[in-house]
Symmetry: C2
Subunit: 258 residues, 2 copies
């Protein structure tokens, strides 16, 4: 039986702790190719680089003790660029699975739209590869990922075994806890970022603003949401569609056709 091929990316850069742990864990499931940004690209969303050439650097290539192969590449572009380059220029064949993360910071609710972690996942899903993004609700650069190891591998195995529906990928978010309460299949909570700008001045007196913000969950009591799961100690697994068509809204627009 052919060995599974797993592509890994992230938005925190190839040196981040989260992608290191994820890489270790995925090596138990198959051969691994890591293509990740050369430095942090948080908030990169699905952005692409087309005004500059994008470069790749091989950081490591070796056979593991278990016989599995590991390649690590850094890329000067965005997370989406990493996936596009990996698929067209590095991977010997279409990967069986793509995983992204583990992001330092959650990508639940509306934050998914800004996420480079999920940008890489969306790109991979557009290329019809079963794809999973993993994120941890933490602000720390160094943290204990051990509580998420078993669940992370279990979800990846499930997807390797069963696949995912066409145009669907997974957004997995973990709360920062010593012991997960369990796992919930969720929908994205409705949420909004407020108070997003802190005024500043540069040394020459020019006004400027730093982006920050306070997240507000607009439906804190809805138990079927990713935010509720995180707030209550559960891993949140949210299936995400890349078909953003609002089918239910089509009928109401028909008068525009005249």
């Amino acid at each position: 039986m052919e060995r599974k091929l797993i592509l890994i990316s992230n938005d925190d850069g190839y040196k981040a702790q989260g992608i290191g742990e994820l890489t270790e864990w995925m090596l138990s499931l198959g051969d691994v190719i890591v293509v990740a940004p050369d430095s942090a690209r948080s908030g990169a969303a699905c952005s692409i680089t087309h005004t500059l050439p994008v470069s790749l650097k091989s950081r490591r290539k070796k056979i593991q003790p278990n016989g599995h192969e590991l390649q690590i590449w850094s890329c000067s572009g965005s997370p989406v660029d990493c996936v596009k380059l990996a698929l067209e220029r590095i991977c010997p064949r279409k990967p069986d699975l793509m995983v992204s993360g583990i992001n330092h910071g959650d990508n639940a609710s509306c934050s998914i739209h800004y996420s480079g972690t999920m940008g890489a996942v969306v790109e991979s899903c557009l290329k019809e590869i079963p794809s999973i993004g993993y994120s941890l609700r933490t602000l720390a650069q160094q943290c204990d990922f051990a509580p998420y190891r078993e669940t992370t591998i279990r979800i990846a195995q499930f997807v390797l075994e069963h696949g995912l529906p066409l145009d669907v990928c997974l957004n997995v978010n973990y709360p920062e806890v010593d012991n997960l309460q369990g796992l919930r299949v969720c929908r994205l909570a409705r949420g909004i970022w407020n108070h997003e700008w802190i005024p500043a001045q540069n040394p020459r007196g020019v006004d400027a603003y730093w982006l920050t913000g306070e997240f507000s969950n607009l439906e804190p009591s809805s138990e079927d949401t990713d935010y509720w799961a995180l707030d209550h100690g559960f891993a949140a697994v949210t299936p995400i569609t890349i078909d953003m068509t609002a089918y239910a809204a089509m009928k109401g627009l028909k008068p525009l056709e005249k």
Copy 2:
């Protein structure tokens, strides 16, 4: 009756021809505030700027002959940053309508994910403002926007009058034609970008790649898609949901809950 307030942004920058035309047209419907990037940000998607301070510059502020007010601001950030800054720091109240574009280049099918034009629209929709992105299938920096004037205003008027469902915004794409065949309410076509990288070398001999690509419509005969509409001379109006939950996929994942 209070005058309508319309916020305008784009990803081609505040000097682009497309946003200039859109601004002229929207002034017939209300007061206009333009907040757009200081230079081109194509492919910015929903990216945000949080590692640098973002600055704003007032470019114009005047009362029009018809009594309507016009403000134009440029911003050093992404299209999403523009909208966030506009709403929190510039607009005197929540706008009645947000429009983005007119983009030089279509944002149909999967290209919506990379689009800065639609990034601004998604951000505005997240803030619960009726929002519309307009894009023209062209590669030209200067083009004739006259054929799209009436339809653009008509769609904006429709949204001002009827609103849009919660979490739904519009993605409007125009074909490059002298006369539109009409308007179609569509879904996003399934599509894929192939052959995306052109190898290059920098002057020091380092390998690099330029992002390019060939778009392939995976369902060219589906008459209900945005791509079909564009290919046949119609304006394509696609309702877009910002709730990316794949509800139909939830049941199949339930075994993960154990």
